[in-house]
């Protein structure tokens, strides 16, 4: 009896594990599950898990189930490289999803070149990611330039005469303030002061006093939701009268309403999914299904504007594996160029960006603007 038990353990260890590995197709995910961006990273991971369950419930892909291997990059560029190394070298994933922040994504990109493994980028918006000549990058989220372009049509409607900027001091913030200020100048809008802040800072009194003195009618804010919350509150404390517009799609309006309260009223937000009115998006059936599952799992409703990124990324990867006919990096890289996926944000397909011969892939996503009015999110 005793020996019998031991043998089963040995058998399980040596024979069952490789058999399991052949049964599932592994997809590597690197997200900030702890550290400064923990809230958003966990939402994206939750969205990806909903997609995993949905794909597997529908029979998986190529007759096999998919299995997400989610690693925590700790909101840290060095750790992000380590997660990629682990996912590719040890888990042998043929494709990855990551890494939320522009800085983290840029850090991991050389590893993709080294191992020739493709990565679907679900959040980062720095232009550099798709213009630096890395042919393993497939970005489904919009670049800051695309956001600026989408917003260009609304400048007249908003009646912007002079704009100021407050951005987090990294690839994401600096890229966005550059693209938006260029776009505004092109429309004859005066650009006042461009202020930056440490990504970990919590006190923006100095920057806001300067912005108040600059006196623009609109303040563009580019950062994660935690800092945006504090900026809204502190702007009110210092009586900054400018209309505040956030960019980047990661400033969850629901979380702002819960945490900034009154100070959130009257602010505008660029988002890439509008869960408050799922009927208004391009593929409402998918959006409604996703929102229902998110709520059924009792996830925080404020996370939907991030969570959808995980869903869209997993479906993009699965479609590519299906087209490739096998779960190998080279075949998946080629197949990703051919995908047409109905996602929550819209229809996902890639165009070429960056230097000829080693182009990166960029999707052209939908961008929406919403407003917070009396503690409610309304269509703009």
């Amino acid at each position: 009896m005793k020996f019998h038990g031991l043998w089963s353990i040995l058998a399980a260890t040596f024979f069952a594990a490789p058999a399991m590995a052949q049964d599932t197709i592994k997809i590597g995910v690197t997200q900030p599950l702890t550290g400064a961006f923990a809230a958003s990273g966990n939402y994206v991971a939750d969205g990806a898990k909903i997609a995993e369950a949905a794909v597997n419930a529908a029979g998986g892909v190529l007759g096999r189930k998919i299995q997400l291997i989610i690693e925590d990059n700790k909101s840290n560029p060095t750790e992000t490289v380590a997660t990629a190394e682990k996912l590719i070298a040890k888990d042998k994933v043929p494709v990855m999803i990551g890494a939320w922040s522009s800085t983290l994504t840029l850090a991991v990109m050389p590893k993709l070149m080294e191992y020739e493994v493709p990565m679907v980028v679900e959040t980062s918006s720095s232009g550099k990611i798709t213009t630096s000549g890395n042919p393993y990058i497939f970005r489904i989220s919009p670049t800051s330039e695309m956001e600026a372009k989408a917003f260009a049509g609304m400048v007249k409607k908003f009646g912007i005469k002079k704009a100021d900027f407050l951005a987090t001091n990294n690839d994401f913030g600096l890229g966005a303030s550059q693209e938006f200020s260029q776009m505004l100048k092109g429309q004859g809008v005066q650009v006042g002061t461009i202020e930056t802040m440490d990504p970990k800072a919590t006190d923006f009194s100095a920057q806001l006093a300067k912005i108040k003195a600059s006196g623009g009618d609109t303040l563009f804010v580019t950062t994660a939701v935690e800092q945006a919350t504090l900026i809204l509150r502190q702007a009110k404390e210092q009586q900054v009268k400018a209309r505040i517009i956030t960019t980047g799609g990661s400033v969850s309006p629901d979380q702002l309403i819960a945490q900034a309260g009154e100070a959130a009223n009257g602010s505008y937000h660029l988002v890439f999914f509008t869960p408050w009115f799922p009927e208004a998006v391009k593929n409402p059936d998918i959006a409604k299904k996703f929102v229902a599952e998110w709520n059924a799992r009792k996830y925080n409703a404020g996370g939907l504007t991030e969570g959808f990124r995980g869903w869209d990324a997993v479906h993009t990867v699965v479609e590519a594996i299906k087209l490739a006919g096998k779960a190998e990096p080279k075949a998946i890289t080629d197949a990703l160029w051919k995908v047409h996926v109905k996602g929550i944000n819209g229809d996902i397909a890639f165009i070429k960006q960056g230097p000829a011969g080693k182009e990166s892939a960029q999707n052209v996503p939908s961008v929406y603007v919403v407003r917070i009015d009396n503690g409610k999110v309304v269509k703009n």
Partner: protein, 290 residues
């Protein structure tokens, strides 16, 4: 002119909180010579205790503030008793490694307990700011400033004008002699660490409601606290207080008139300059140890 006034008012408010962070650390890092990496975690702990008491159990804001500080003192005493009491006489590297471990463990425990999503703590002050002509300041910041000054003054009195304070200073100047003179040095170690931790928790409990609470909130707070302590001179409470205000004014005016991108670098440039001319910091006379 209006902008300058607003910058000065902001710096004054910010300086109070930097000073409060600094005095807690100057007791532990300056007097005890323990490089305390858990200072920021005690700060986060204070903020989360406020969240738990005010938002989850509905305790009165001011009662919660008192309780959060007491809980911070208890956690500090526990840390000292469990980890540091075994390391008396161990070299500074060993202690430092243990404190780094405690820092990581505490921060991850916070994330496990409260998740990574930032939480908001309600405060009883009016939402409309206090407006004085062209400048304005939030009421809760005025409250934080007043309490910070009171705590700094109380700590100064405790260290310099009480028997316990004298025992603390004696223990860390020369523990053998202090022991011979009948000072219970083990208790003094625990009490000093607990007091410093309580002050960190107080800073977190005061500032949690001003900002938001999240697990990694302590990292930047700890960096500022170390800057303040080194600037003012190790172990000096007036030094940490002055250091806090100087750092705040340099950051605020530097960000306002030079570049906000270098806001956090300004303070450290200042430290380098001051240490070049006064290697012991602004207020400490004795030679630095460790």
């Amino acid at each position: 002119m209006d902008q300058l006034l607003q910058h000065c008012l902001n710096a004054l408010m910010l300086g109070g909180t930097y000073a409060l962070l600094g005095i807690g650390l100057t007791l532990i890092f300056g007097i005890m010579k323990v490089v305390n990496f858990t200072h920021g975690e005690l700060y986060a702990f204070g903020a989360y205790m406020m969240y738990m008491l005010v938002m989850l159990t509905g305790v009165n804001f001011f009662v919660a503030l008192g309780l959060a500080i007491i809980l911070g003192v208890l956690l500090g005493a526990l840390l000292e008793f469990v980890l540091l009491s075994r390391l008396r006489g161990a070299d500074i590297d060993t202690t430092m490694l243990v404190m780094i471990g405690a820092w990581i463990a505490l921060q991850n425990a916070e994330q496990l307990a409260w998740t990574g999503v930032a939480v908001n703590i309600r405060n009883p002050f009016p939402a409309a700011p206090l407006v004085m002509g062209p400048v304005s300041v939030a009421w809760n910041r005025v409250f934080v400033f007043a309490i910070a000054l009171a705590l700094i003054f109380a700590t100064y009195r405790l260290i310099n004008h009480t028997k316990l304070g004298r025992a603390m200073r004696a223990t860390f100047q020369d523990r053998d002699t202090a022991a011979l003179m009948g000072v219970q040095i083990n208790r003094i170690h625990t009490a000093t660490f607990a007091l410093g931790s309580g002050l960190a928790a107080a800073a977190g409990a005061l500032l949690g409601p001003v900002f938001v609470a999240y697990p990694s909130m302590g990292d930047l707070a700890a960096a500022k606290a170390f800057a303040v302590v080194i600037l003012g001179g190790l172990g000096s409470i007036p030094g940490a207080t002055a250091g806090g205000f100087i750092l705040a004014f340099v950051e605020e005016l530097g960000a306002g008139y030079i570049s906000s991108g270098y806001r956090d670098a300004m303070g450290f440039v200042l430290i380098i300059v001051i240490l070049l001319f006064r290697p012991t910091g602004l207020f400490a006379r004795r030679e630095r140890i460790g």
